[in-house]
Amino acid sequence: MTIRTRRRALTLAASGAALALTLTACADTGDGGDGGGGGEGEAGSFEIDCAAFEEFGDIDGTTVTVYTTIVEPEAETQVKSYEPFEECTGVTVEYEASREMEAQLPVRVQAGNPPDIAILPQPGLLNTLVTQYDALVPAPESVEANVDEGWHESWKGYGTVDGTFYAAPLGSNVKSFVWYSPSMFEEAGYEIPETWDDLLALSQQIVDDTGGEIKPWCAGVESGDATGWPGTDWIEDVVLRTAGPDVYDQWVNHEIPFNDPQIVEAFDAAGEILKNPDFVNGGLGEVNSIATTPWTDAGFPILDGNCYLHRAANFYQTQWPEGTNVAEDGDVFAFYLPAQTTDEKPTLVAGEFIGAFNDRPEVQAFQTYLSSSDWANAKAVATPNGGWVSANYDLDPENLATDFDKASAEILGDPATVARFDGSDLMPSEVGAGTFWAGITEWFASDLSSQEVTDQIEGSWPS
């Protein structure tokens, strides 16, 4: 509790300070800081205090290369958010994005051709780069200071390998959301469930009310060569709720086996929804259609009224087809996936991290910028259509474009929230990006029991 209180106080103080700096340092450059407008498709710009980069000396005219998985159209907002830094320092940021980045980065590293900075989509890759290729340079003090100031210590922990802090977090995702249609709920008179039991009761009520015509839940885990990850998120969310965050940590760190009874229980609890032919798969087919339905399309039956509930992360916001109104009184919105009681708010989160392969001053200056709250705010302002949040304390919610992003930020900042990082990203890649994905897909596709699946995954855990 003490940590949380301090965090809030710090947040207020820091944002106040940032605001003051913005006003004094950049008062002459017009209306930068005030938002840029939500939903208009017009990216605003954000003013920062250039003094932060003085310690890096004269770096004008140098170039920093960045390699990421963030491609168009999201790339545009990334590049836009680098502009304040480029203006301050005269450094050119060369941005390269590829969906194949996770496979290509180790190739470049081994060939002696790494970028200056890579935005790593998950800590597992960070871990591989450090332990296997010894390729990253530790984060400079300025970055560490930024992270200590702006982020909960758990986030610093995800960027740390064997006690050395390498990578500051960049953005954050909140995964514990259930998407629904506010208008359908209103029509049927349904309330947003507050507890896990409420959620199950609501599911049953939908079945009863529609005479079994409509399956309340829709889900899909197909995602190309990463098929299965949305399923692992589901399980992780349920483990957090049925077994609790402590067991979750033990499970992820393999202090208890993968097939521990508490985990099997969580699989079964998830199965009460996901393997229940009465509850799934609304508008998409039988239980096994979860395995083959693209995760990107899995929520769409809500729009057709064929499904009421779809659990997906905050970034599903940008997946809805063009013209869908994402709002509390719109076509779709999301509520927090409830826990056993209303007192606890275990939340599954994930995020990207900033790895540096070089310690040239301009690279460190850019790292410092990316790890600062200035960047978080600049990025928020540069993302007029929303779909982006950060767990940085000093991110001003007013800069976020949509109500939903603000709701996500609220959950991240809620003192009751107990955030846990996506476990499959933290497990060894053989499991986290291998057998866990494959196992959960088989769990949907065949009649394998929870025990059998967890046994198989445990058997694949590297010794």
Partner: protein, 330 residues
């Protein structure tokens, strides 16, 4: 010097560098051939080196050295720091599902090249010299112009499943046809072992154009007097096809089969894109990619690549024997 290497984003500069590269290449090759040709009685090794040397040099650097390096890597651990001997191979063969992967791979090599070649041949024969030949050939060739990933996306679409309830329409053509015929839609990609064949269809769909092009040209080269003589002997239709066409283009058939078999063994894009190797559809190439580039296990990945090479040995032996036979005929 940099000017010759990097063009930046200037279009004119890019084209200049391209022209310079081509001119340079022509110049070097011309010089080599000039040297080889000049002395009235150039030593044979020099002539041989002039013809074969440049290609062998590139192959050695570009493929042979990496290939040998892979064999070495397959004896080491995931980042090459620890010698493991044959452990990676042992793991490959003791991994519980790996025998299934090997079996599926064998199925692919046996079915896909044969089917693509057969269909390409049949099509080449039936459209040969018809009025629509050009158009008809372009249609079957079309899939060649699509990347494997693109083709996989197209076919994923064809196999798509939607439940057969009143409110939902089918979006996959195959299931729509089933529904029109009064059947129930099927989760095609989950049906083992049918799903393996459905994935092969994608490769066959792509490679048939390749087979058709080469075989059709080969059929064209069958001398008329042979065809004429056979006709006088009363052969026509299928008889002509089996007794004249097939034997006449046998060497081309072997070449086409071999080439497609090699492609089949190497391609993993289709499996990755369509099922990610789940539901019993994984093949060795997919496992190789998964280990090398997803799990970053260079050693195990390399062992799987070497396994690919072992699988191809029978094909090589068969080709060598065919070459010997052809040599004798000549």
């Amino acid at each position: 010097m940099d000017w010759f290497i990097y063009a930046g984003d200037d279009p004119g500069h890019k084209l200049m560098i391209m022209l310079i590269a081509m001119a340079l290449f022509v110049l070097v090759m011309g010089l080599i051939l000039f040297i080889v040709d000049r002395p009235a009685n150039a030593p044979k090794w020099l002539v041989t080196a002039g013809f074969v040397g440049p290609a062998l040099l590139m192959l050695t650097v570009g493929l042979l050295y990496p290939g040998l390096d892979t064999i070495r890597k397959s004896l080491f651990n995931r980042n090459g720091t620890e010698f493991l001997g044959l452990d990676n191979y042992v793991r490959a063969f003791t991994e519980p599902q790996f025998l299934l992967v090997l079996g599926t791979t064998a199925l692919w090599v046996l079915v896909a090249p044969a089917a693509a070649t057969f269909l390409g041949l049949v099509y080449a024969v039936v459209v040969d010299k018809s009025r629509f030949e050009k158009f008809a050939k372009a249609l079957v060739f079309l899939p060649m112009a699509i990347s494997m990933v693109g083709a996989s996306i197209i076919w994923k679409f064809v196999y798509e499943y939607k439940p057969n309830t009143g409110a939902v329409e089918q979006t996959g053509l195959l299931n729509q046809v089933l529904v029109w015929l009064g059947g129930e839609p099927i989760q095609f990609l989950l049906q083992r072992p049918l799903n393996n064949f459905l994935l092969m269809v994608v490769l066959i769909w792509i490679q048939t154009g390749f087979a058709m092009t080469l075989l059709s040209a080969s059929i064209r080269a069958i001398p008329d007097d042979i065809v004429e003589a056979a006709r006088l002997d009363g052969l026509s239709g299928l008889g002509m096809f089996w007794r004249i066409t097939i034997p006449s283009i046998r060497p081309a058939l072997v070449v086409v089969l071999t080439t497609i078999a090699m492609t089949t063994l190497k391609s993993f894009d289709i499996v990755r894109t369509m099922t990610a190797g789940r539901y019993g559809t994984s093949i060795v190439a997919n496992e190789f990619y998964e280990q090398s580039f997803r799990q970053n296990n260079a050693g195990f990945g390399a062992a799987l690549a070497v396994l690919l090479f072992v699988i191809v040995i029978p094909i090589i032996i068969y080709n060598v024997r065919q070459m010997r036979l052809a040599e004798e005929v000549r």
